[in-house]
Symmetry: C2
Subunit: 281 residues, 2 copies
């Protein structure tokens, strides 16, 4: 497995592979790899000749008071685990490689970026779409793989790839969960043992909502109220948002008359966690 830091060098390496007819899969990450990432890498390996895992903690998707500085970084550990999952090349550019002095270009995906997580993190998705546009142009994959845990992110990236005619496939794979139901996330590292235990209520509230809908409930505000009560029943948890929305537009629904996305963000102590499920109606 190679570890490449320079955008120019990895483009050169991949150009050669592509001229040889090799299919390239890309798994963009911010490192601190977990089972969620491994599932993406394994799928990418199955469907491509070479798998690139990018590891770059992207400052542009963090607001000034967010956790950019303390975000966990351990390239050596990540490299071992990525290789084990099937990664062929790790691309880990430095900040100055990605955003040299005078950097000025940004990609925004309107509407989708301003809903749900975009309300409390208004600059977040512009940072995400910008760094992904750059990674996609550097790597030029045949397929890029994202996890459904970041449902809104994946939707925005798909829209960007289609709107800007980037000409490759984006696949979104299921959320990987711990036994408790807690969705795998690099930020779970921040949780103290009792917080981790309490955080299991996030998925429980989603399953409860799904159960209510399957049993015929159609009033979104009532379902959200049940979720809210469940979550606030645990100590140290605050709710950022709970949304029951159209899974294509992310527009919230009052009445559940077709398939919905149920998504939420909560603060468990000082850690912000997100989760979601899709429910067929």
């Amino acid at each position: 497995m190679r570890v490449v830091k320079s955008p120019r060098e990895i483009s050169r390496i991949l150009d050669r592979l592509k001229r040889g007819g090799r299919k390239i899969g890309l798994v963009p990450t911010m490192g601190c790899l977990h089972e969620g990432h491994f599932s993406l890498i394994r799928r990418a390996k199955k469907e491509n000749d070479k798998v690139v895992v990018s590891i770059f903690v992207n400052p542009k998707q963090f607001a000034p008071k967010e956790d950019y500085k303390k975000y966990p970084r351990d390239l050596r550990r990540d490299a071992v685990l990525a290789r084990r999952a099937g990664c062929d090349i790790i691309f880990c550019p430095g900040q100055a490689d990605m955003y040299p002095d005078g950097y000025a270009a940004y990609v925004a995906v309107r509407n989708l970026s301003s809903r749900m997580c975009g309300i409390s993190r208004p600059t977040h998705f512009e940072g995400v779409s910008t760094v992904c546009a750059k990674l996609f142009n550097i790597i030029r994959p045949d397929t890029a793989y994202f996890g459904q845990k970041d449902f809104q992110q994946a939707l925005i990236i798909k829209r960007m790839v289609e709107d800007l005619n980037m000409g490759f496939k984006v696949k979104v794979l299921p959320i990987i969960r711990q036994k408790s139901g807690l969705a795998m996330s690099s930020r779970n590292k921040y949780l103290k043992p009792h917080e981790k235990k309490n955080a299991a209520v996030i998925f429980q509230s989603l399953m409860k909502a799904k159960g209510l809908i399957k049993a015929g409930a159609r009033d979104a505000s009532k379902i959200k109220a049940v979720m809210r009560r469940m979550i606030l029943g645990r100590p140290g948890i605050r709710i950022d948002y709970i949304a029951i929305a159209d899974p294509c537009t992310l527009v919230e629904k009052k009445r559940i008359d077709s398939n919905v996305l149920i998504a939420l963000a909560v603060w468990v102590g000082r850690t912000r966690l997100i989760d979601n499920i899709l429910v067929d109606v």
Copy 2:
């Protein structure tokens, strides 16, 4: 020469050519081709195996009250002239090909886009960089060619291509002028004969400014005052802006202590014209 309307089809055609090792030159235009465009096509032909000329009047770079609707369109004439200049493929997508319902992705180049023409046309350059990002991704040229007449546009595009790691060359070729000095522009079509005659003062004012700098003048406001007087000496002309600026950042200079861009936009009757020169100091 082929005329292709579908983004998917032209990508397919060009993929085949590129796999065969052919170099692709792209000249993005809004049609109504003139000598300025021909000079770009001829250069592209010299430096590439195949030349693509895109013709698309991009609604997103016009503000609601601007001339999108009346912008001159004549594909048949353009096709004949483009072929004569060396074009191999015309790419002329429809609006719905470029901006289908639900379109949401935009590319913005900060700072550079808000100066000079960006002051009176605040959404213009976002439209330009967005459509160029799309065209670049559809065509994936080895080199794209732009005219210096739209100096700010070319600078923004170069910045975008570099910042977003698009990985090809952008070349900016000299302004082509009529005998009177008037810069070639599709919008010259709008000018009545007496307006065209008066519009020659635009270039005369640039040459006058250059002469003053070459003779030692260093105070930008004094030079601009001379230009302003010259231009307003002609009937029916209003000034949008005159800028004497750093040619890399477009930041205006008070004192001319290094090479400068002198750029201006004026209204000749109901037609907005731009022009510029670079002056070595």
